[in-house]
């Protein structure tokens, strides 16, 4: 239990606070509209459907405010930087920005559904009241005109056209409501995991319907059709007068009741984040306009392209990523890539593997001619924290090893310079890969490091284990024949390659045994399933006793 608190405590706290605010807003506004005296007559026409429509509206205001914030990359990077003093737990929360964005989106979807159903009922009942189907009071209320000294309550003014649909499409609220709900539905269906992982372009372009969503949202309340009773002189007491609707205006204690629409409030909630997001996009554009120069382009084995680029004023940290844009391929597409160079170098590099339309085209055209590129970033992710931990466990699966390329190179540089910033005194590196031929460019780096460490007599600093998860009979035979040799037959490295997946229990046991009093940071760049396994192991092998070993899990995500 204690281990769980260490690893998940702050996240759970934030979620509880968020949910608490949602519940509070819902309940508060529900009772505001369900019990408020100024809505007595409105409720007579609509019943509790009024409150059921207004309560989710309040929750929607709050969540539409929140939804833009987790996707302001540059803002988040800034926050991460300013939290350098405030502990790594705070910074870990900002890694979960996308998860939070999705959670808020689900809430928006749910509340939209409730809001819409309640309003369907409202429109139907307003319409029926206008037709005089209900009791005398309802008809009297609906008949109140918007002329001279009088104000209306029922927003349906016409009696000849009886279709609720007509009303909805001729009011601002109705029209914007339908349009933004449609935009929301399209955004949601194109954001489903299946679509997002397979057809990123569809997801990305459709997601920009959020512009329409927010524009419509701001104007949604402009028609002021939710109306409440205002004070009159002399006052109109509804308890006395509700049964005497034919005498309104003719007796002194019951003047004709006056109504006014509620002031639209949504814009007050969302204007701040909208401006922030606008600044975010402007910043991305400005960075994009700055020239990027090529230093070197290298084609690596297994169709991996290495680009070494130079940009003015570009400063990076280990494990950060940039967004790349190649207008020759697509004007609007920006794709994220982790940088594989260390901050100590005077250029930044990325390794791009052929993984889809865009990367395929990029690799093809780069070999012919160095096309103009746009670079946005760098953006920070969990890997920056790796030097803060005394002991780090780095796990990279397949191409997920790229941030760790940056880290290992940086270690090498810091090592050579005896940099005091390096708090790390031990690193365990696990690379899981399916095929041997993806190893080459990284194996070169490891060979260099291996040699360097041996020369300085610090072979203990970095322990790495390479796992080939896909192997067959010919592999095994080949290895068996060469098992007596000094270097590994696959990689040429001194450390031997393992076959199959790591036994994590054994690995964590070993780390714990070798580091009985340390704080260990575990970093993963790889599939979700592995993340869940590692997270569980971190919780399992952490000790609540602050003097003993503690494991913290960090996952890199895009």
């Amino acid at each position: 239990m204690g281990n769980w608190i260490i690893n998940h405590g702050l996240t759970s706290f934030i979620l509880v606070v968020w949910m608490g605010i949602n519940i509070f807003l819902f309940v508060w506004f529900y009772f505001f509209y369900d019990l408020g005296d100024q809505f007595f007559y409105t409720r007579h026409l609509l019943g509790s459907a009024l409150a059921w429509a207004r309560a989710p509206a309040a929750v929607l205001n709050f969540n539409c405010l929140l939804i833009l914030l987790p996707v302001c990359r540059n803002l988040l990077s800034l926050l991460r930087g300013s939290f350098v003093c405030c502990g790594r737990t705070m910074r870990k929360q900002l890694d979960k920005n996308l998860s939070f964005h999705k959670l808020v989106a689900y809430m928006i979807g749910l509340m939209t559904a409730v809001h819409m159903i309640a309003h369907l009922l409202n429109v139907e009942w307003y319409n029926n009241s206008r037709q005089g189907i209900y009791d005398k009071l309802s008809t009297a209320l609906s008949n109140l005109e918007d002329s001279g000294n009088n104000t209306y309550l029922n927003p349906i003014r016409k009696t000849d056209i009886q279709i609720p649909t007509y009303f909805v499409f001729t009011t601002i609220a109705g029209l914007t409501g339908v349009i933004i709900t449609l935009a929301l539905i399209l955004i949601i269906t194109s954001s489903m995991e299946v679509i997002r992982r397979s057809y990123f372009e569809v997801f990305w372009y459709t997601h920009h319907l959020f512009v329409i969503f927010f524009a419509g949202l701001v104007f949604h309340g402009a028609g002021r059709i939710v109306r409440s009773q205002t004070k009159t002189d002399p006052p109109h007491n509804f308890t006395l007068c509700k049964d005497r609707s034919d005498e309104w205006g003719r007796i002194p204690e019951c003047p004709i009741p006056q109504f006014a629409g509620g002031f639209p409030q949504t814009w007050m909630w969302v204007i701040g984040p909208m401006i922030l997001y606008l600044c975010e996009r402007l910043l991305r554009f400005i960075r994009y306009m700055q020239a990027v120069r090529y230093r070197k382009i290298v084609m690596r084995p297994s169709k991996v392209l290495e680009l070494q680029l130079v940009k003015n004023g570009f400063k990076m940290e280990v494990g950060q990523y940039v967004f790349l844009n190649c207008p020759a391929i697509s004007q609007l597409e920006w794709h994220p890539f982790t940088m594989t160079s260390a901050p100590e170098e005077d250029f930044f590099s990325i390794h791009i593997r052929s993984a889809g339309d865009w990367t395929d085209k990029l690799i093809d055209i780069q070999m012919e001619f160095a096309w103009l590129m746009g670079v946005d970033g760098p953006f920070g992710t969990a890997s920056e924290d790796v030097f803060d931990y005394e002991v780090s466990m780095l796990v990279g699966a397949g191409i997920g090893v790229t941030p760790f390329a940056s880290i290992l190179k940086s270690i090498w540089y810091k090592f050579k310079d005896s940099n005091p910033k390096l708090r790390t005194r031990k690193i365990y590196f696990y690379w899981l890969c399916r095929e041997t031929h993806a190893f080459e460019w990284f194996a070169d780096l490891l060979q260099v490091l291996e040699k360097e460490m041996e020369e300085r007599g610090m072979a203990d600093f970095l322990t790495y284990k390479l796992y080939l998860t896909k192997w067959d009979q010919s592999h095994a035979t080949h290895v068996r024949v060469h098992s007596d040799e000094d270097t590994d037959v696959v990689t040429g490295l001194k450390q031997k390659t393992y076959y199959g997946r790591p036994a994590w229990d054994k690995e964590f046991e070993q780390v714990r045994k070798e580091n009985p009093t340390s704080v260990v940071g575990t970093f993963l760049c790889g599939p979700e399933a592995l993340g869940t396994v590692l997270e569980k192991k971190c919780v399992k092998y952490s000790d609540v006793d602050p003097r003993k070993t503690k494991f913290y899990f960090n996952k890199e995500n895009f």
Binding site: I117, T165, V168, L182, S198, V202
Partner: protein
Amino acid sequence: MGKIEWAMWANEQALASGLILLTGGIVGVAGQFRGWQFAAYAVAAGVFVCLLEYPRSKRSKGTSVERSGQYCFTVCVKAFGPLTRNYYVRAFLHAAICVPGGFMLATVLGCVCLGIASLIYLVAAIRGEHWEPILPRKEVRKPITESIKNPPQNPPPRPPAEIRRKRVDDLEGAAYDNPISVTDNE
């Protein structure tokens, strides 16, 4: 990643539309709205669309992810053969189904969403996509005869017994050359 298969998005959109039609229909019937007959129709139409769209198609490139428990739906949908395989049919079917939804406010959103799904299906059909059922693969056991080397049928040739008997007194003379050269079987 791969070329876009529009049908995947059309499927998500159509399933969502089915649910929205169904919800709108239920509200219309439960609230006894004016024109509730359209709402009742929307309930039936919504259920039908959901049943039709629930089983995902097999992708032409890449791994297909099934929805949980979709196997029985796959079998039902597959039974209609070309009617469900062809996306032109689906596009026109959805376009036709959605029209009555437009006559009532509660179902108008479902109508528009289904109309959009119909358009995306049309695009998918024009690009030559079609629906393939995801069926469980039969495990094929690789014949293991290749990897196991053929065991020898006959014993190795040996000299006659009196020569083979160990002669402790004359070890030099006891050694013999094999009549056939022995090589390591690589």
